[in-house]
Symmetry: C2
DNA sequence: ATATCATATGAACAATCATTCATATAAAGA
DNA sequence: TCTTTATATGAATGATTGTTCATATGATAT
């Protein structure tokens, strides 16, 4: 007999559901992963990441590259930095941004592969 | 001499900017990639993907698993399907959902790795 | 045929988000 | 010290999005 849970939904594979529920990553980890991917999910940030894949750049470079104003770029860089995807260092009046680790390029390449099919 | 482009931004590495601009993926590809990652960027969809990583399931199963109503799950499954991340087949009154290819699990694993550090 | 069940879909609403504008900070030069 | 330059940041706004509710579709069973 099929199980009817919340709001009358009918689960056909209750067994599997219980097993999955027991083995899946914590709610917190799942949220963090979604947060991470959300950061990749914007064209502006994707362009920034792609650029930094090639070379360290400062804010003005990126603004020129993206044809966007400095403020917009700066805001997005903050998002990227909060997600630990980029790091920054100050050199005089300029601030240089670079990718913070190797995961970034792996994830980006994976996305590119999926898209190019 | 530093270059001052749109809106007075100052580019320090004009050389690099030009090179990156010449070599980077098309605007369209960059948009598609962002769109792809956007789909991963939601906890509900991440949970669905993680579940389907383990086994094929139908809508009611997922609703039970996520403690969400059928409609919400169905809407998100549509998003996943439009992004070609899942496929579906009908068996009687039920519709079974499964991951559509291997990229998905690779991308998800990559995200998990990044988060678990 | 009709009732029921599983799923899909459209409209509405609240919440989130990217960009802009204006302004703040922090370094360098005069 | 005062100005200029590079970047950051807060508030406002328009656009996008996830969920809910109500309803539609499509299949089975009586």
């Amino acid at each position: 007999m099929k199980e009817h849970g919340i709001e009358g939904v009918c689960s056909v594979h209750e067994e599997a559901v219980r097993r999955i529920l027991a083995n899946r990553p914590s709610e917190e980890h799942l949220f963090e992963m979604a947060e991470l991917f959300k950061v990749f999910g914007d064209p502006t940030r994707m362009k920034i990441l792609y650029a930094l894949l090639e070379s360290e750049l400062c804010v003005g470079d990126l603004a020129l590259l993206l044809s966007m104003n400095q403020s917009a770029v700066s805001h997005q860089l903050k998002v990227l930095k909060d997600a630990s995807l980029v790091r920054s260092r100050r050199v005089g009046k300029n601030i240089y941004y670079a990718l913070s680790d190797g995961h970034v390029s792996t994830i980006v390449s994976m996305g590119m592969e999926h898209v190019c099919e």
